[in-house]
Symmetry: C2
Subunit: 415 residues, 2 copies
């Protein structure tokens, strides 16, 4: 079964809005096991829309469309699809009732052009829209199917998640069940290399990598009759990944490092404090992004200047003089210092050269030290994060903050 996505709207065509609908639908179709080979965007122009529709049906069985269902004269998706299938437009009495009651409820006058929204190609399956005035529809004929949904994502997404996914499930062979193994500190190519058999040759379940900044998620997906069967199929692959990358696995179905860290700290009733130099507050900012962070986090110090490292965090001036602010020794004293200052169970610190300035011969851009201090002692890591590119500073800061969060997770796991 081949589907494609056809989004109608001049505002997408001119770049006034980003086409998040296409990405959403594409991901959902992939999850249903329906192949997608093309996405197209066309403006509110009936001739061009007609050509695009014909091209789409010449190569696909299903065309999933968004946009052009509104009340104005240039909203022509339903009419164009109706014409393609040779159907008349007829007034749908249910839609009309719903539409009228919407206007009554909101106290707004219903202008005549709104009536258009209750018209449907003859024989269409109506998709009700609880979040707006434009219903969607499914039109079938000659082995082809058009699915029409409104353009605004807050109307389209619930419609897809409800009746559209249900409709499409007839084309999906069983259900798809997924688990995500979250990995940090192992690059995509290394993972592919060590899991080649699983990733290339395995068909049920499949294993696919999703890299996002310095984190990597391996999604294991099985096609099965039931959820239980799906989990049974997934199990061995997940175990294999855990065995191979155990030390690098920070979560199962976790959303992000910060999510995993906050959850783990909360579960163990522990608190963390941050002492940041090169990350400048990024670690504490990522932690406090998570609702409920106040359960596990009280205090962060962003000590950009040496005097602040000394005065607020209690780093010894000799340490900075002898080893420099960017050193293993300073990182350790920062982590210990913020732990003491805050009374937290774990202190974590970062100090490094984010660049582009501040580097020297023996301390290049990208040299970062990350340390943790906890009840069981300390740990510190030296990182080399520069990739020599224009966005180096951003990457170095982000990757450093990820390493810091990952070191917190590792330290907490041991407690």
């Amino acid at each position: 079964m081949i589907a494609e996505i056809l989004c109608v709207g001049t505002e997408i065509l001119l770049g006034d809005i980003v086409n998040t609908n296409a990405a959403y639908i594409a991901k959902e179709l992939a999850a249903l096991g329906i192949n997608v080979y093309h996405q197209t965007v066309v403006g509110d122009n009936p001739d061009r829309l007609k050509s695009c529709l014909e091209a789409a049906f010449s190569r696909s069985d299903i065309v999933v469309m968004t946009g052009g269902l509104g009340p104005t004269y240039d909203d022509l998706t339903k009419e164009t699809v109706g014409a393609y299938f040779g159907r008349n437009m007829i007034m749908d009495e249910n839609c009309l009732t719903t539409l009228k009651s919407f206007f009554t409820k909101t106290g707004r006058p219903m202008t005549d052009n709104n009536l258009k929204q209750a018209q449907m190609p003859e024989g269409a399956i109506v998709l009700h829209n609880p979040n707006g005035t434009a219903p969607g529809c499914v039109v079938e004929g000659n082995g082809k199917t058009a699915i029409l949904m409104p353009g605004p994502p807050r109307e389209m997404v619930p419609m897809f998640d409800g009746p559209v996914r249900e409709y499409l499930s007839q084309f999906s062979d069983g259900m798809l069940v997924s688990r995500n193994v979250n990995i940090f500190g192992a690059g995509e190519s290394m993972v592919e290399d060590r899991l080649k058999d699983l990733m290339v040759h395995s068909t049920n379940p499949t294993v696919a990598p999703y890299a996002k900044q310095s984190e990597l998620t391996l999604r294991v997906t099985a096609r099965a009759k039931t959820k239980e069967e799906g989990y049974r199929l997934i199990g061995p692959a997940v175990n294999r990944i855990m065995e191979e990358f155990g030390d690098n696995v920070y979560g199962l179905d976790a959303i992000s490092l910060q999510n995993a860290a906050v959850e783990l700290l909360a579960r163990k009733g522990l608190r963390v404090a941050t002492a940041e130099s090169c990350t400048g507050g990024l670690v504490s900012s990522r932690l406090t992004e998570i609702p409920g962070a106040s359960q596990v986090f009280d205090c962060g110090v962003c000590a950009y200047a040496d005097e602040i490292k000394i005065k607020v965090l209690g780093v010894s001036p000799e340490t900075i003089k002898n080893y420099g602010a960017v050193s293993r020794e300073t990182a350790l004293e920062m982590a210990k210092g913020v732990r003491k200052l805050s009374g937290a169970d774990i202190g974590v610190s970062t100090t490094g050269i984010a660049g582009p300035g501040g580097a020297s011969e023996d301390k290049p851009v990208g040299l970062v030290f990350v340390a943790v201090s906890g009840p069981d002692g300390e740990d510190v890591r030296e990182l080399r994060l520069s990739r020599g590119r224009g966005d180096d500073r951003e990457n170095i800061r982000y990757a450093s903050s990820s390493h810091a969060l990952n070191m917190v997770i590792r330290a907490v796991k041991k407690l």
Copy 2:
């Protein structure tokens, strides 16, 4: 002149990433006065790419493409375009030198498949890529033009902004000259309302709004024969916007609030320190994102817990007891406290309810106080930032940090 956008990449097709490239290019082509009627996405499949390219050239003069320029076997955009124009692929010696030096510089071994990135269709104009290993190119023939750029936005955007826009300007009637007026604290609809004449009726220059989170940029664009003429045409519109929104204008051609803040502080030789509760380090993180932030920033304290506000920032326990941690009074003492602790010229603070938890009858989610303290005294603002949506926490934190940066800018402007 008709152009269309053809993005190549399985990761877009499957919805793993959102196609921001298409929106960016569409907007820029519109600004150049080049019409766009179609956007297409196709995977890394040579036959389908070929069909899409043929379809695109059957209806358009220029096809702007992204993606498929990398080193792996499935990167086939250059080869497919070369074949369409009947060109052989030849090794470009300049590209090869650049490529080799990139690998030497980063100390990584250059595998053979990388050589592919230095091959170009015969006669192509090479577009150098300072932000990655894959150069782009322009191929012309029979009145048709293909423009090929790499897929990663941080490589594509600079390439478009540099050589591609320059190349395309030949199809534009005259040159386009733009200035951006950066506005904070005035919504898009209010701005449109007060500048309706300029935004709707003015044709040269045009005035277009670009909203991004809580910031708004008005881009004033003139079509002119020379840069000087362009600036002359732009001048009155910029002045008009400044008059209308003077207090809300934080920069001219500034990249972001944090950029404007760091630049202004550096120019005046002043330093800022941050004391954050609800923003959890986001203000310091945004400041330190900017290269050279260490010139203007030494110290940030993220005081999530009351004890830290008291112990580190010197907020009086009575203030917290009498007014609460989320109050005008606490915000002021935090700003004063961090100014004293750090010795900075300006202290800025945030305290509020980011939600979803922590709210009470009289202190709802979205209530935030932002304060600044400087040599000329203090200022504090009460904000109500909830929009009652699922992404409330993120928005409240980000908007609070933007208000904090904006208050720093306002305070520094007066010094």
